[in-house]
């Protein structure tokens, strides 16, 4: 996608590249013109790639020692923790890696929301991203079932039971999912199979996600279209590689802290009790990264409507490029949107908090208000804001605000004349 045609220097290279243009691809990836004003919130794409690879590699090793059988799964995990060389390390990296993966993906998503990265011409990148996020949630849920502890078993029971809300065929679907009349060995073996499959689907979608990104190029903090390559861009290598590398290392320090010093803090103690179909835990709570959606599910009194609300909360994101009617991408130039953005962040954090609390009394009331606001943000605030908001002047290029300090009014486009190419 770079302007000039690349030709390898060596004869062999040329021969190979004419038949399979891998060298052209490598050249494209290193030369890829990237906006030079990307801030650290843009480093999470690289961090997420690292997370995915870490999960796949540690997962492969775990799968060599794990036994997907209801009678042996729990003890095989203990075998990994005790007798497999560095098994404890691999398992703790994998278990905490899931949390770190979600931490990074939430930052990545909210980065996109702030800077309007989902808007034209990047809708496809965004939608692929939402599918990846959905698959991540599925993989995380399936993976949490595998150690066959109490939370595994009862979490699986609660989540699979959601399908029973579907009219007429619901019960049949649940039986089909379980492979029996309750969560049992057939459920465990199929969950293991699917847990192994999904990361590779995600990997494929990540390739598409990056491919789709490389067509229009990166968005940037001021959200304007830039010429590529130009003095507004830098080649991906070495500039972005080293910056992503630096951010990744800082991320790894946090990651290592969890793995080595508080490896179980993000998990639930009950999952160290072997699954027992006869004893229900006092509170069944999902992992922290699913809590906001769990809160939405429980805030609706009707089971079917609750499930619909929960699914809509995720799927509504896919419609975001069309719900947000503003032509201006970056919140930097949208004084009102900026405020609503932070209200949404607070709203999601509140949902996460009440999701961990029992669904009663004040917590339930807060959950309901927060759920209502969540949908209000996407269905009312965003569409209306695009028409009503008075945006501040947008600079013409990246270099201009950097060199001149504040944007020079003489060289800026007014909102009305700002068009997406």
């Amino acid at each position: 996608m770079s302007e000039h045609e690349y030709t390898p220097k060596s004869k062999v290279g040329k021969w190979f590249n004419d038949r399979l243009p891998l060298l052209t691809l490598a050249n494209h990836l290193t030369d890829y013109p990237t906006p030079k004003n990307l801030n650290y919130w843009w480093t999470f794409g690289g961090i997420l790639t690292f997370c995915l690879i870490t999960q796949i590699v540690t997962g492969l090793v775990l799968a060599m020692h794990y036994i997907a059988h209801a009678d042996m799964a729990f003890s095989s995990v203990e075998h990994i923790m005790r007798d497999v060389n560095y098994g404890w390390l691999i398992r703790y990296i994998h278990a905490n890696g899931a949390s770190m993966f979600f931490l990074a993906v939430y930052i990545h998503i909210f980065r996109s929301l702030f800077y309007g990265s989902y808007k034209s011409p990047r809708e496809i990148i965004w939608i692929i991203g939402i599918i990846i996020y959905l698959l991540m949630m599925a993989a995380a849920f399936l993976g949490y079932v595998l150690p066959w502890g109490q939370m595994s078993f009862w979490g699986a029971t609660v989540i699979t039971n959601l399908f029973s809300a579907i009219p007429l065929v619901g019960e049949g679907i649940v039986t089909w999912l379980w492979g029996g009349y309750s969560v049992d060995n057939p459920t465990l073996t199929r969950f293991f199979t699917l847990h192994y499959l999904i990361p590779f689907l995600i990997l494929g979608l990540v390739v598409l996600h990056i491919w789709a990104l490389h067509v229009p190029g990166n968005n940037n903090p001021i959200g304007i279209d830039i010429k590529k390559p130009s003095k507004d861009t830098v080649p991906f290598h070495p500039y972005i590689v080293i910056k992503d590398g630096f951010a990744l290392l800082m991320f790894m320090i946090v990651f290592a802290f969890f793995v080595f010093y508080t490896p179980n803090i993000l998990g639930h103690a009950d999952n160290y009790i072997e699954a027992n179909p006869l004893v229900t835990p006092a509170h069944i709570v999902p992992e922290w990264y699913l809590l906001p959606f769990y809160a939405i599910l429980r805030s609706v009194p009707d089971k079917l409507l609750g499930v619909i609300a929960m699914l809509s909360a995720i799927l509504i994101l896919a419609a975001l490029p069309w719900l947000d009617t503003s032509k201006i991408r970056s919140a930097v130039f949208r004084p009102l949107y900026k405020q609503f953005y932070w209200i949404l962040v607070a709203d999601v954090l509140i949902l996460g908090y009440v999701g961990a609390m029992p669904a009663e009394g004040l917590y339930l009331l807060i959950a309901r208000i927060a759920t209502a606001y969540y949908f209000l943000h996407f269905l009312v605030v965003l569409p209306v804001l695009g028409f009503k908001e008075r945006t501040t002047p947008v600079p013409l290029s990246i270099t201009e605000p950097i060199l001149g300090g504040s944007p020079n009014l003489a060289t800026v486009k007014k909102k009305d004349s700002f068009k997406d190419q």
Binding site: N39, L103, K243, G245, F246, L249, F260, A282, Y353
Partner: protein
């Protein structure tokens, strides 16, 4: 960059809040100084050996330890009994083996490779012998309870007479740290119950601390390795991060843009 750190801090704060709210229990657990806490925490070898003695003489008549083998008692980072001591411990148990050439099961003395012998044949037998309550396996017990070591340590010392108005069924005891305050295990520890070979005074508090330390080790046998490796890994990462930071500054200085 400043903004980035500010927001990261807020996220960290939120997480801290979450953990606190998860850990929020109504009762305040008894506190003691655990040698294994903190980034440089190590097990107190003598406490582990005494703790094993308490487990063996008091707990093991009801509570199994099914993921532990006698060989683990020798391993580094654990009680580190000598091989001879551990062999003698293993040999003091009768292990069911077989079938032999005649197709018969037979009993033989335990070996280092054997798993800890279970007090009961199966869960049903354990329940039958304990008034319907199953004494939980102790191997990962401290990780399976919200309060962790503090909870176990407190529970062992939490027996008191029930307050007025609380009636207890036969075989149920009052413990102020137990969830719901009712427990089917009677008070097990009393001063001088075991005779420590190292001469330590076997007070209830001492035994509770020793056996809880032992249970922490059975749940996390690689804790010491983990702490040591974690320190090295994080120091290494910090040094590398600093180096990469200055390389980044250098590279970006070519185009005079602040990073």
């Amino acid at each position: 960059m400043k903004n980035f750190f500010r927001i990261s801090f807020l996220i960290a704060l939120f997480f801290g809040f979450q953990f606190n709210s998860n850990a929020a229990e109504k009762v305040e657990y008894l506190k003691t100084d655990w040698s294994f806490k903190g980034p440089f925490g190590k097990f107190d070898r003598a406490a582990l050996q005494r703790g094993y003695q308490v487990y063996q003489e008091v707990c093991s008549s009801c509570h199994s330890m099914k993921y532990l083998s006698y060989r683990n008692l020798v391993e580094k980072g654990g009680p580190e009994f000598s091989v001879e001591q551990a062999k003698a411990i293993a040999a003091s148990f009768e292990v069911k083996d077989g079938p032999n050439a005649d197709g018969e099961m037979f009993m033989r003395p335990g070996r280092l490779s054997d798993k800890f012998v279970m007090p009961y044949e199966n869960e049903k037998a354990a329940q039958a012998a304990n008034g319907g309550a199953y004494p939980p396996d102790m191997t990962v017990l401290v990780k399976a309870r919200g309060g962790g070591v503090d909870y176990i340590y407190s529970l062992l010392q939490g027996y008191e007479d029930p307050p007025a108005g609380v009636t207890l069924d036969d075989g149920v005891y009052y413990n102020k740290y137990m969830y719901g305050n009712k427990i089917k295990m009677s008070n097990q520890l009393s001063d001088g119950l075991v005779e420590y070979s190292d001469g330590t005074n076997a007070s209830v508090e001492q035994m509770a601390k020793d056996v809880t330390t032992f249970l922490m080790w059975t749940a996390e046998p690689h804790l010491e390795t983990r702490h040591k490796m974690g320190f090295k890994a994080i120091v290494y990462l910090i040094i590398l991060t600093v180096l990469v930071y200055f390389s980044m500054k250098r590279i970006w200085s070519r185009i005079e843009t602040k990073v």
